[in-house]
């Protein structure tokens, strides 16, 4: 077992350093890039916290739609291929539900302040995999 502080705490510390110390002391362009970097670290924090739960949920949904077990790396291309050839109807309720859930799970990690995401959450409540 690795020692404390864990990855999440270290990331938090680096983000705080960037925002509170580095960025105010950088020239404009470098400050812009450092803000992007701080945003990237915050994305990594969410990725570490949420990826496993989301990917498990996504895999379960895909297994139900495709009727077989597998990994995301092989279920997703098969799902894509069957949407492409028309053998899966994207309007079928469980398929549309899966597409929506997966999109919302990605946004929860990538860009939880995206306005369309915030609005979609308001309409549907918190995500199943999020706690």
């Amino acid at each position: 077992m690795q020692d404390k502080p864990d990855a999440a705490v270290l990331l938090e510390s680096v983000v705080a350093f960037l925002r509170d110390t580095a960025i105010p002391n950088l020239p404009a362009r470098e400050a812009f890039e450092a803000r992007v970097a701080a945003g990237a670290l915050e994305l990594v924090q969410r990725d570490l916290a949420l990826r496993r739960g989301f990917e498990d949920a996504e895999r379960s949904r895909l297994e139900a739609i495709l009727g077989r077990t597998g990994t995301l790396a092989d279920l997703n291309p098969e799902f894509a291929q069957r949407l492409r050839d028309g053998s899966i109807d994207p309007a079928a309720p469980e398929v549309a539900e899966h597409l929506w859930a997966t999109a919302l799970e990605k946004l929860a990690v990538d860009q939880p302040r995206y306005a369309a995401y915030v609005r979609a959450l308001d309409a549907s409540g918190p995500l199943a995999g999020e706690n």
Partner: protein
């Protein structure tokens, strides 16, 4: 303009300074020397540099250099800097607010391909233009000015420039190839491609299209639109492409109910466009272009992964743009499979996909 920082100590800036000084007489007949070369932030593909030219009478004028560094080649979708410069000049002559092009780089300049134009002072940053009280008059004027500028662009005869033609079928095929090249299966993109193939509008007469007419590429003063910038994707195609692209959710920067660039109502822009162009806008066909535009931005974001993995540019900014492809997946679902709350569950119905 975006915030900037003096860059003179960097080798690229010094090479540019030398090249521009060498050509100062071509850039500005009364010019005696180039000073204050600095790289402006913003623009992930072409570089944008600002510099000043000293004139014989002691005055100084501000100029912009757009360039691709030496060795870079324009993407298949781009016009290339030389054609781009010609289109800007044609559009300007047709009354489109656009910068005056002063000089086009030649191979003997040795600093890549590009062109020099006047620097239009103002604001491009969406956060300012969309929300700052100072730009309230510009926001009020936007529907009219955007409709008018687009009508003027679409009326330009650019047949002499040799631009590529990209109508609905070609654009979908081009995106499809880019999507396949990415090697990553994206179910939502598959749904969008199927919809686009089933809903392509009838081919329209090909007109000059800006190709990237949106917030971030438009220069505003408090009073209104001062310049249409970033013409690198200009081509011949369906005019509705520009109108659909302007209404893509990605360019609303959070102001999602103002569908035209986060600034104006869609119908207000279309009314202004119809008045200025004397044509009727087919709303259904425009929706096709909005879906295609949303998908295009998604594929452009996803394609950043190729830059990163090839080691060409693994900058943090590019990495973060790559992680924005998911935003367009949500936008595509909103367009093609909107959630209609049913018995308060908010479950999707998928009804619009069936149509």
């Amino acid at each position: 303009m975006p915030a900037s920082t003096p860059d003179a100590r960097r080798p690229a800036a010094q090479a540019l300074l030398a090249a521009l000084n060498h050509r100062v007489g071509c850039i500005e007949p009364e010019g005696t020397g180039v000073v204050d070369v600095e790289r402006l932030s913003g623009g992930a593909s072409q570089e944008t540099w600002a510099f000043a030219v000293r004139l014989r009478d002691g005055r100084t004028v501000q100029r912009i250099l757009r360039r691709m560094p030496e060795g870079d080649r324009p993407g298949a979708a781009t016009a290339g800097p030389e054609k781009e410069a010609r289109v800007i000049a044609l559009a300007r002559a047709a009354g489109v607010p656009a910068p005056d092009v002063r000089y086009v780089l030649t191979p003997s300049d040795g600093v890549g391909r590009g062109y020099v134009m006047d620097r239009i002072e103002g604001e491009t940053r969406p956060a300012k233009v969309l929300r700052d009280a100072r730009y309230a008059p510009a926001r009020l004027a936007f529907a009219h000015q955007a409709g008018d500028a687009l009508a003027r662009i679409h009326a330009v005869d650019a047949s002499c420039v040799g631009l590529r033609t990209g109508r609905a079928a070609e654009e979908v095929a081009d995106l499809w190839n880019r999507y396949l090249r990415s090697g990553t299966a994206r179910p939502v993109f598959e749904v969008a491609f199927r919809w686009l193939r089933a809903n392509a509008p009838k081919p329209a007469a090909a007109r000059l299209v800006h190709g990237d007419f949106r917030n971030g590429n438009l220069m505003f003063g408090p009073e209104g639109l001062r310049g249409v910038l970033d013409w690198e994707l200009t081509h011949l195609g369906d005019p509705l492409e520009d109108l659909g692209w302007l209404c893509v959710n990605s360019w609303r920067f959070g102001e999602i109910d103002r569908e035209a660039g986060g600034i104006a109502r869609r119908e207000d822009v279309l009314a202004a466009y119809e008045a200025a162009s004397g044509t009727h806008v087919d709303r259904v066909a425009m929706r096709f272009w909005e879906v295609l535009g949303t998908l295009r931005w998604g594929i452009m974001c996803a394609a950043m992964v190729e830059w990163i993995e090839s080691g060409l540019d693994a900058s943090v900014e590019r990495c973060m743009i790559a992680r924005r492809a998911s935003e367009t997946e949500l936008d595509l679902l909103n367009l093609l499979s909107p959630r209609v709350p049913r018995h308060g569950t908010g479950r999707p119905t998928g009804e619009s996909l069936a149509g």
